[in-house]
Amino acid sequence: MALPPQSTSTTAPPDELPLELLHGELIFSGILLSKDKEGDINELLSKLEFIGFSTGYRLIERLLKDSTRFKDELDTIKFICKDFWVAIYKKQIDNLRTNHQGTYVLQDNCFKLLSKISATKQYLEHGPKFLAFTCGIIRGALSNLGISSVVVAEISTMPTCRFHITIQRAT
């Protein structure tokens, strides 16, 4: 009897697995939720976002310690879409749009943390939990580069997602 073709899931380098599994645990183990707030999705999202923020903030500092300054805001965002995304998710952002007034939309057509979830609508409602950490990473990275922002994410169909970055300007 012929064996089914080898699964492709084992082709990613093994050193990417620990973070993936840890990320899964953050979402599903309930470890971030206090007993009386079990099932509070907003508390979960906000803690995931904060863990991402703190991680992104520190990571970018280490990654760019020998780098020169960015030319402007757009240059910084482009860096996030290309080099930074490649460094942490092994691919570039597929599409970047901006209104040139401080709003940027980053579209990833196959976001790594969603790529192992069924592409049907079945788990669509769980989507936001898988994006909160990354929203935090973007906000943290930008924050350390001197740009304060709000980052939210949306999914229309798995595994495509969009990150909306809104720059907060000092008034």
Partner: protein, 180 residues
Amino acid sequence: MSRQSTSSRITADSKKVNSELFVLTYGTLVQQLVKDYESVEDVNKQLERIGYNIGLRVIEDFLARTNYPRCTDLRDTAEKIQAAFKMYLNATPSLSNVTADEFSLVFESTPFGEFTELPDACANLKYCNVLPGVIRGACEMVQMDVQAYVIADTLKGDNATEIRVRFIKKLHDALPAGED
């Protein structure tokens, strides 16, 4: 010399970035837990628990990648765990005090501890307590009941970080009542 296709501002190689991303995420998680839970003991317990959950999954990936056959004895198991550390965390523990039913994994420095300092208030925190959990979870999936615990930690001034693993018993698949 290989030519670089694009010039990236990020000069660190992918392995290093993966590892730092993980280390920093883990560090932030521990920090968050210390804030959220009343006692450090609870934090240790929670870390062990998520480690166990991760172990249940990591073993599958490990077996799929390596095609290792069954272990012949506990030393064999220990060597495979050693190989897994190298593979997933690029850490190289050495084995010591191997007996028929116990062994130690000794790390020169605490895994994930490269950016960490423990404040005095966290003197009882077992920073890498996720690892004993992973070992326990992974072994359970291959029918081995083991006990694993951190007995020395460089973050607390010890010379090395040591995780002791004790074999308790072989597990047998229990069929649900009423099934043959």
